[in-house]
C-alpha cells in the first residue's frame, strides 16, 4: 500500500505542474503568436517566454525523483 501511495505521490508531483505548465504555455503561446504576427523580430524572446513556465514541471519532476529515490 505504501509503495502505491509513494508512486501516486510521485505521479501527482509531475502531473499537476505539467497541467499548470500546459495551461500557462497555451496562454503565452497564443499571446506570442499574436505578437509575432506584428513583430517577427520578437521570435527569440517569444520562444524563451514559452520556456519559462516549464520551470514548474521541472521542479515537479525533481520532487517526484526525490519521492521515488529518497
Amino acid at each position: 500500500m505504501e509503495a502505491v501511495l509513494i508512486t501516486l505521490a510521485a505521479a501527482l508531483a509531475v502531473a499537476v505542474p505539467a497541467l499548470a505548465t500546459a495551461w500557462a504555455q497555451s496562454r503565452i503561446g497564443t499571446a506570442a503568436a499574436a505578437a509575432l504576427a506584428e513583430k517577427p523580430e520578437l521570435r527569440t524572446t517569444a520562444i524563451l517566454m514559452i520556456a519559462i513556465p516549464e520551470t514548474m514541471v521541472i521542479l515537479g519532476f525533481v520532487v517526484a525523483a526525490a519521492i521515488l529515490f529518497r
Binding site: 524572446t45 524563451l48 516549464e54 519532476f61 525533481v62 529515490f69
Partner: protein, 632 residues
C-alpha cells in the same frame, strides 16, 4: 569585454568645419555627440544654412528615387560595390539626380505595364472556358440580325431550372426565342438565349426577377456582344507574352546600363547626407567650431595624429576628463577574442549593456556549451552535431548568421562529446553494450547525483552572476554593491546550512551558519529594502531552476534507450533498426531545440538577472555609409 572609450573635443576655425568633417568621415573613429551649450555662452549649436537645408531635402528625394529604382530593378548594393573613391563633384550629384528620376519613372511605368498585361491575361484566361463552350453557339448568334442574345451561366445543380426557364419564356413572349445549352468542364452549364428584338425588354425583366446574371463582356473588347469580343480577346492573348517580354527586357537593359552607377550614387548621397546631419551635432562660435564625441581609447592617438598631420596647429584635439562625462552616455562596443565572438549573437538578443558594466559574452561562451553538453551528453549525438556544424561552416559565408551558428555548434558538440564520455553514452546505451564505461556516473541509473551536479552548477553560476553584479556597481553605486554583497553572503550561508543539515558538511557548521544569517538579515533589509527577502528567496528558486539540466538530460537518455529497445522489441531486425534510427532522429531533433532554449533561458533569466544592465548606446562612428550585409 566592453572596450574603453575616451571622450575628445576637436576645435578649429569655423571655415574649416566641412573639411574636418570629411576627414573624420574618412577616419570613421569618432562617435559624435552634441556639445553642451550653456545659455548666454558664446558657444551655440550649429544649424544647416538655407542652401544646405535645401540640399538635404533634395538629396533625400534623390535617395528615394534611387531606392525605388534599385528596388524595381531587383538590385541590392553590396559593400564591395560601393567602395569609396573620394568625394564626388557637385556636377555628379546633379547627373545622378536626373538619372535616378528618369530610371525611377521608366521602371515604374514598366512595372505597371507588366502588371496590367498579367491582369489582362488572367482576365482573358478566365473567359477561355466560356469561349470554347460558346463558340458553336455564337456562330448561330450572328444568323439573327433582328435578335438579341443573352449569355448566362447556370450551376450544374440548377440544371432543372432550364426547362422552367423555357416554360417561363414561352409564357411571356410566345415562340420568339431559342435557348442553346452547353455543359462546361467546371460542371456549370453555359446558356445562350436568343430572343426577337421586340421581346428583349420583357426577357431582361424576367432575368432580373430571377436574379440571373449575364456574363459581362470586358469593356476594352466591348462595342458588341461576346461574339465580337471573343476573337479580339483571343488575338490579344497571343500578343501579351511578347509585350511582357519586351517590358522585362527593357528592365534588364536599364539594370545593366545604370545599376552600377545608381549603387555608387546611393552611397555618395548617403555620405553627403551624413555630412549634413553631422552639422547640427557641432558647436560653433562666430569664428570657431567644437566637435565632441567618443573614440576607443586605443584609437585616440590615430585620430590625433591624423588631424595634426592634415591641419597642423589649426585644429586641436583634447581629451575630456572622465569626471566630466557620465558613463551611461558613452557608446558601447564589444570586443572579444575570435573564439568567443560568435556568442556575442546570443548576448545580442538583449539590448547592449551600459558602458562601465560587464559584457557577459565570455561567460556565455563557457557556460552555454557546458549546459548544452550536459543536457545532451552523448558521444554519438555530439559527433553528428559536429558534422552538422562542419557542413554549415563549409557552406556559409563569413559574417553571416549561418556561419555564426556553425561556430556556436562547434563548442556545443565538443562539450556534448565530453559529457558523453562522463556519462558513458553513445547513442543511449549502445556505448555500454559495446563496453563503454562512464567516467563519472550513469545518468540512466544515478538521477540524484545528476540532480546534485545540476544544482551545484546552478550555485556556481548564480554566485558568479551575483559577484559580477557587485563588480559592475561597486564603483558607481557602492551602497547597492554592498547590499548585493550581503545578499550573496546570505545565499552562501543558506547553502552551507542546508549542506550541514543533510550531513554533507559536519553538523557543527549548522549553528554558525544560522547565526550568520540572523546577523546578515537586518543588514540586508537596511541596505536593500523590504523586498530584499523576496529577492533572496527568488535567488534560491533560480538555483533550483538549474535542475532542468538534469530533467532534460534524463529525458534525452531515456528516449535514446527506448530507441535502442526498438531493435529487439519488433520481430524483424531490419524494421527494428529503422524504427530505432527514426526514434534517434526525433530525439536528436529534440536535443537540438530543447537544450538550446533551456540553456539560453538559464542565462537570460537566472544569470543575467543578477548583474546585466541593458540600455547601452551602440558605438556608431561618423563615417562613410555602407550597405548592411545580407543576413545569411
Amino acid at each position: 569585454m566592453i572596450i574603453a572609450m575616451s571622450k575628445v573635443r576637436v576645435l578649429g576655425p569655423r571655415e574649416r568645419l566641412t573639411e574636418v568633417l570629411r576627414t573624420l568621415q574618412d577616419l570613421t573613429l569618432l562617435h559624435l555627440a552634441p556639445p553642451e551649450v550653456s545659455p548666454g555662452a558664446p558657444l551655440g549649436r550649429a544649424s544647416l544654412g538655407t542652401s544646405q537645408e535645401r540640399e538635404r531635402r533634395h538629396l533625400q528625394q534623390v535617395l528615394a528615387d534611387i531606392d525605388a529604382g534599385l528596388h524595381e530593378l531587383h538590385l541590392r548594393p553590396t559593400p564591395a560595390a560601393v567602395a569609396q573613391s573620394g568625394a564626388p563633384a557637385a556636377a555628379a550629384f546633379v547627373r545622378w539626380a536626373r538619372l535616378a528620376w528618369r530610371v525611377r519613372r521608366e521602371v515604374e511605368r514598366l512595372r505597371l505595364q507588366i502588371v496590367a498585361l498579367e491582369e489582362e491575361k488572367a482576365l482573358i484566361l478566365k473567359y477561355q472556358q466560356f469561349f470554347s463552350a460558346f463558340r458553336a453557339l455564337l456562330e448561330a448568334e450572328t444568323h439573327w440580325p433582328n435578335a438579341t442574345a443573352y449569355h448566362v451561366l447556370v450551376r450544374g445543380s440548377d440544371a432543372g431550372a432550364i426547362p422552367k426557364l423555357r416554360a417561363s419564356l414561352a409564357a411571356a413572349i410566345g415562340a420568339d426565342f431559342e435557348v442553346y445549352t452547353q455543359p462546361l468542364a467546371s460542371g456549370e452549364i453555359a446558356l445562350l438565349i436568343v430572343v426577337a428584338a421586340p421581346a428583349a425588354r420583357r426577357v431582361e425583366q424576367l432575368l432580373a426577377q430571377a436574379q440571373v446574371q449575364e456574363i459581362p463582356v470586358p469593356a476594352q473588347y466591348g462595342g458588341g456582344g461576346l461574339a465580337q469580343a471573343i476573337p479580339r480577346m483571343l488575338e490579344r492573348l497571343g500578343q501579351i507574352p511578347s509585350a511582357r517580354d519586351q517590358a522585362v527586357r527593357r528592365q534588364q537593359q536599364l539594370a545593366r546600363e545604370h545599376g552600377a552607377e545608381l549603387i555608387r550614387a546611393r552611397a555618395a548621397v548617403h555620405d553627403r547626407l551624413r555630412e549634413l546631419e553631422a552639422v547640427p551635432l557641432t558647436g560653433v562660435t562666430p569664428h570657431a567650431f567644437v566637435l565632441e564625441g567618443w573614440v576607443p581609447t586605443r584609437s585616440r592617438r590615430t585620430l590625433e595624429d591624423r588631424l595634426a598631420a592634415q591641419y597642423g596647429e589649426a585644429v586641436a584635439v583634447e581629451e575630456i576628463s572622465i569626471e566630466e562625462w557620465a558613463s551611461e552616455a558613452a557608446p558601447v562596443v564589444l570586443s572579444n577574442p575570435r573564439l568567443l565572438r560568435p556568442f556575442e549573437t546570443l548576448v545580442g538578443v538583449f539590448p547592449l549593456p551600459h558602458y562601465g558594466t560587464i559584457d557577459p559574452t565570455p561567460f556565455v561562451a563557457v557556460f552555454f556549451p557546458a549546459f548544452f553538453g550536459l543536457m545532451v551528453g552523448d558521444i554519438g549525438y555530439g559527433l553528428v552535431l559536429a558534422l552538422i556544424g562542419l557542413a554549415l561552416h563549409h557552406w556559409s559565408r563569413p559574417g553571416t548568421l549561418l556561419r555564426t551558428v556553425s561556430e556556436i555548434i562547434g563548442p556545443c558538440a565538443l562539450f556534448t562529446i565530453i559529457a558523453g564520455f562522463l556519462f558513458g553514452e553513445f547513442f543511449g546505451d549502445v556505448g555500454s553494450r559495446l563496453g563503454l564505461k562512464p567516467l563519472a556516473f550513469d545518468r540512466h541509473e544515478a538521477m540524484i547525483p545528476f540532480l546534485l551536479l545540476a544544482v551545484s552548477l546552478g550555485v556556481v553560476h548564480i554566485l558568479l552572476g551575483m559577484s559580477l553584479g557587485i563588480a559592475s556597481t561597486i564603483r558607481r553605486h557602492p551602497r547597492e554593491a554592498l547590499g548585493r554583497g550581503v545578499s550573496t553572503i546570505m545565499v552562501v550561508l543558506v547553502i552551507l546550512a542546508l549542506l550541514a543539515a543533510v550531513n554533507v558538511l559536519p553538523k557543527s557548521f549548522f549553528t554558525p551558519m544560522v547565526i550568520g544569517l540572523l546577523i546578515a538579515f537586518p543588514a540586508l533589509i537596511v541596505l536593500e529594502g523590504i523586498v530584499a527577502p523576496i529577492e533572496l528567496l527568488s535567488t534560491l528558486g533560480n538555483i533550483l531552476s538549474y535542475a532542468r539540466i538534469m530533467a532534460l538530460g534524463i529525458a534525452s537518455v531515456m528516449l535514446a534507450v527506448v530507441a535502442n529497445k526498438m531493435v529487439g522489441a519488433i520481430g524483424s531486425l531490419a524494421v527494428g533498426v529503422v524504427f530505432a534510427l527514426l526514434f534517434h532522429l526525433v530525439n536528436f531533433a529534440i536535443a537540438l531545440f530543447s537544450p538550446t532554449v533551456h540553456a539560453l533561458r538559464l542565462h537570460y533569466v537566472e544569470f543575467f538577472g543578477k548583474f546585466y544592465s541593458p540600455g547601452g548606446v551602440r558605438y556608431q562612428p561618423f563615417g562613410h555609409w555602407t550597405p548592411a550585409r545580407p543576413a545569411a
